[in-house]
């Protein structure tokens, strides 16, 4: 994690936590359990696949108290690890990231894990334990810490370091929370299952409090290209962000700030923007009046000659990974994945990926639509399905009859949207808003896959028809052979019977193009009754 050298602004953690507890998903012992697991796994995966490391993630959940519903959750990854000096802050201080550069990731810049620490402290009072090492370190570092809520400071209870005896890197986090395992279990397993669908390159193991082992073995070593950090596109900026930029860069000129903070703004574009906004380029950044900032903001927003946002900040899964993932879980008879080209909305680049899985172990769909598997930045979206734009496209924009599909069917649609900013609907982050550009891309992606499905189904129907035609002939082979042998007075000669039957099978196979063994199996199934 590239947290070194980044700037943070502190706010009161207690205030933050109480304010955002529900928003962050810690409203009750069921949701909190789920959210804790989700945050820790998301972090583990972010520390691995986002940095080109094939993930090995182990999760264990143990009952930690005989009376109370306390559970110790340990998540181990083989990710890039954390520098020891960052650990206390990464886990022990509620921070607000001040970085302007952006890239796709699962979590909220590590904010979630601090909520976990706070929740643990509030419910069980037990500290968090972190063990970590990076690739070239000779040492492994251990921390036991809690957050001083009033001071918003990490309190290190215990720390240790020892020499690596093997080439290990990664992070092990242990936290003890109060939760309702019985009611959270299904949610957690579902989350893990959905996650595993799009991470075929990951080894994921979960040990439950009942000592059940859920294991998703790695089936491919292909990793999606990791995202690269990029500066924000000027269309994606908001007023607060602009103000902060001006405040924090007092020593630079206005032009320098624009050029260094945004993608696709060079010095000539910067000059045009400033003159359009009617701002004297020699003014000190901090001296801009409120209405000047507003004017500059509007000008930046309305200027239409920027290049489209760079997509290098995005990390689409790619067709290969999606197909490997679906294959691992559903073993479908038909599978097709689409990875669309980058597009943008409001200055944010995004990529839509879609896949159809048909037959095999693909689950049976409801009466009116296929099974929909939604993902945003590799995080499965499990709840609020009906309000999601993906569901709306599936139900409203696609005429499934046209693709020779009627429901229920063993058909699942996977849609993954990756973006530097996913336009979530509401605070639950479970449903994506209806943005026309995104809706269009989802539609095109699904249609492309559905066309392939249609071709497949048509071919299957043709093959079935060819088989039917062969059946109408092959079923008479034993009768014809028997009749001929009677006339040739050879009916009790088993060898003659075999030879003649085989000749007829070969003949029918040759005429129809259906393989000999298929024709033969029909013939073998024939029974001539009385």
């Amino acid at each position: 994690m590239s947290t070194i050298g980044e700037k943070y602004t502190s706010i009161s953690p207690a205030e933050f936590f109480y304010k955002y507890r529900e928003v962050a998903g810690f409203a009750n012992p069921v949701k909190a359990f789920y959210q804790t697991i989700k945050e820790l796994i998301d972090n583990a995966l972010d520390a691995t696949d986002m940095h080109g490391v094939l993930p090995d993630v182990k999760i264990s959940i143990e009952r930690a108290d005989e009376v109370q519903e306390f559970y110790k959750i340990t998540v181990e990854d083989n990710g890039i690890g954390l520098p020891p000096d960052v650990v206390p802050y990464a886990f022990g201080r509620v921070l607000f990231s001040s970085k302007y550069s952006m890239k796709q990731s699962r979590g909220m810049y590590g904010l979630g894990v601090k909520m976990v620490v706070l929740y643990a402290q509030m419910t069980t009072g037990r500290p968090i334990e972190v063990t970590t090492s990076r690739e070239n370190y000779r040492m492994i570092y251990y921390f036991k810490l809690r957050i001083d809520i009033n001071k918003n400071e990490p309190v290190i209870i215990e720390r240790g370091a020892w020499r690596k005896t093997r080439d290990w890197h990664g992070t092990i986090v242990s936290v003890t929370i109060e939760g309702d395992w019985n009611r959270a279990k299904q949610r957690i397993l579902e989350y893990l299952h959905r996650t595993s669908i799009i991470t075929p390159y990951a080894n994921i193991t979960l040990i439950t409090p009942e000592n059940e082992i859920v294991h998703y073995p790695r089936v491919t070593t292909v990793l999606p290209r990791p995202p690269r950090e990029t500066k924000p596109h000027p269309h994606g900026i908001d007023l607060e962000m602009l103000k902060m930029l001006l405040n924090n860069n007092g020593d630079k000129t206005l032009e320098e700030i624009l050029v260094s903070s945004f993608q696709s703004i060079g010095s000539s574009t910067a000059k045009v923007l400033l003159s359009t906004a009617g701002i004297d380029p020699s003014k000190k950044p901090r001296e801009l009046a409120e209405e000047e900032i507003q004017k500059l903001f509007n000008t930046i927003k309305n200027y239409d000659k920027y290049r489209p946002p760079l997509s290098s900040a995005l990390s689409p899964l790619g067709r290969e990974v999606i197909e490997a993932g679906l294959k691992r879980i559903f073993e479908p008879e038909f599978l097709y994945a689409v990875s669309r080209s980058p597009r943008s909305y409001e200055g944010h680049p995004f990529i839509v990926e879609a896949a159809l899985s048909y037959g095999g172990k693909t689950p049976m769909s409801p009466q009116d639509q296929p099974v929909v598997l939604r993902y945003a930045n590799r995080v499965p979206l499990i709840y609020d399905e009906s309000t999601d734009v993906i569901t709306q496209v599936v139900k409203e924009d696609i005429n499934w009859d046209h693709y020779m599909t009627s429901f229920p069917a063993q058909l699942a649609i996977l849609v993954h949207i990756c973006s530097t900013k996913i336009p979530f609907r509401g605070v639950g982050k479970e449903s994506i808003a209806d943005i026309p550009e995104i809706r269009r891309e989802i539609r095109l992606a699904i249609m492309e896959a559905a066309r392939e499905l249609k071709h497949y189904l048509a071919r299957k129907a043709r093959e079935k028809e060819a088989l039917r035609r062969v059946e109408t002939i092959a079923k008479y082979i034993p009768e014809v052979a028997r009749s001929l042998l009677i006339i040739l007075e050879d009916e009790s000669n088993e060898y003659a019977k075999k030879t003649l039957t085989h000749k007829l099978v070969t003949l029918v196979s040759k005429r129809s193009g259906v393989p000999v063994n298929v024709v033969d199996s029909i013939v073998k199934s024939v029974e001539i009754g009385a």
């Binding site: 079935k464 088989l467 039917r468 035609r469 059946e471 109408t472 002939i473 092959a474 079923k475 008479y476 009768e479 014809v480 028997r482 009749s483 001929l484 009677i486 006339i487 040739l488 007075e489 003649l500 000749k503 007829l504 003949l507 029918v508 005429r511 129809s512 029909i522 199934s525 024939v526 029974e527 001539i528 009754g529 009385a530």
Partner: protein
């Protein structure tokens, strides 16, 4: 001695066995050479049934049918044909005499298989006798052999009496010594051997009742006649039997039927063959057979026809159908107007439609008076009639039929007196040559 051991029976069997075996052996050899596994035989369809003007009989045309095993539309029929061939082959080998119904039951069994989607599907080799009968006919044309020579029996229907001595099996039978009964013509008439025939002609009577009356009256003895009845539609054996008498003893053959289109058609089956069994005509039909009666002109005379000809356009229309119709000779009716009134009955729509089939729509249109029938037969427009009925004599008969919409059943003539029929009507007609061909 049993029938099975009769020499002619044994010979027929071994000939049939050899024919079937060699045919299907060739079929297998052909397919081994890479040719299609297919049966090739003349098409038994209406469109491939043609009237041979020279031979004066219905024959199969040149169209050939290919029944390939690998053609999905033909596969089942192919299987059925082979199945039937093997059953017949077995019955020949086992000295059996199956009927076509026996063959139907012997071959009827289930064939089940497992389909692509794992379902077990069951069907019957055939469900109705119509199907098994059809493949028997196919085998007859395929092997160019009649079913009688495959020792397949059918119900006996025709009867015969007369000065005729035959050998059937190992028995000699004198057909003049049948008492009140008659000899039932066996289904395999080719196995009959004629020993002695003493007759002037053959009289075939459509109706069994009339046959019995003429028999008891002593008609055949008095007139030296071989008296035959087909008891309705003639079966194959009766036709073959009549044909043999005509062919082997050059006896003239006269046919006596009802005076209606059905009666006319029965006569034509004897003479030219039937449309459904046209492949047998060469062996079954009697091209010299004459229709002795009852004709419409026997009932109405010829004056009535002259009245019809006077109507606008009728003469032209009929001349176009058959040349010379307006120059036919005239004759007096055999019935008085009074008798006519008593014996003649009204023709039904069915009869009129059948008549249209015989001579075509144009004759009906020209001669029909009844506006009701006229409108009802409109759907037969385009029917051109059978060529062998399009002679001036037959067209005149049917024209009178259309005009009067009258028909007469032969029993009515006996109503005038059996004596009249036996001693006057038939002998007079034969003597004066008053028949139609």
């Amino acid at each position: 001695m049993s029938l099975a051991s009769s020499e002619v029976d044994i010979k027929t069997r071994s000939r049939a066995l050899e024919l079937i075996r060699s045919h299907f052996k060739k079929l297998v050899e052909e397919s081994e050479k890479g040719h299609k596994l297919q049966l090739v035989f003349p098409k038994r369809t209406l469109s491939n049934t043609i009237y041979d003007q020279k031979a004066k009989m219905l024959l199969l045309g040149p169209d050939v049918q290919y029944r390939s095993f690998t053609d999905i539309n033909e596969a089942k029929k192919f299987m059925q044909t082979l199945l039937m061939a093997s059953i017949i082959y077995n019955t020949l080998r086992n000295n059996e005499y199956p009927t076509i119904r026996d063959l139907f039951y012997r071959g009827k069994h289930s064939i089940s298989y497992t389909s692509v989607d794992g379902k077990t599907i069951s069907e019957n080799s055939w469900d109705e006798q119509r199907e098994s009968d059809s493949v028997i006919r196919d085998l007859e044309v395929l092997l160019n052999i009649l079913r009688e020579d495959l020792l397949i029996l059918s119900k006996e229907k025709g009867k015969v009496v007369g000065n005729l001595v035959i050998r059937s099996g190992n028995d000699v039978i004198d057909l003049s010594k049948m008492g009140h009964g008659a000899y039932a013509i066996e289904p395999t008439p080719d196995l009959i051997e004629f020993i002695d025939v003493d007759a002037e002609y053959v009289l075939v009577v459509e109706k069994d009742a009339v046959f019995q009356q003429l028999h008891r009256y002593g008609f055949w003895r008095k007139n030296k006649v071989v008296l035959v009845t087909s008891a309705g539609q003639p079966d194959r054996a009766t036709r073959r039997f009549v044909r043999r008498l005509s062919e082997e003893y050059k006896l003239p053959v006269y046919v006596l039927c009802d005076s209606d289109p059905y009666g006319f058609y029965i006569y034509s089956v004897f003479k030219v063959g039937s449309i459904t069994l046209s492949y047998e005509s060469e062996r079954l039909s009697t091209p010299t057979a004459k229709f002795i009666g009852v004709t419409l002109t026997d009932i109405f005379g010829t004056e009535i026809f002259k009245d019809v000809l006077k109507k606008h356009g009728v003469k032209e229309a009929l001349e176009e159908v058959t040349k010379g119709i307006s120059k036919l000779g005239s004759k007096q009716p055999y019935l008085t107007p009074e008798e006519r009134k008593n014996f003649v009955i009204k023709a039904k729509l069915r009869d009129v439609e059948r008549a249209v089939e015989l001579v075509g729509y144009r004759v009906a249109e020209a001669c029909l008076e009844s506006p009701e029938y006229k409108s009802k037969i409109k759907r037969k427009e385009g029917a051109s009639g059978y060529p062998w009925f399009l002679t001036p004599e037959w067209v005149r008969e049917l024209c009178i039929f259309f005009y009067t919409t009258s028909k007469l059943e032969i029993e009515a003539i006996t109503g005038k007196g059996l004596k009249f029929l036996a001693d006057e009507y038939i002998p007079r007609k034969i003597k004066s040559g008053d028949w139609i061909e």
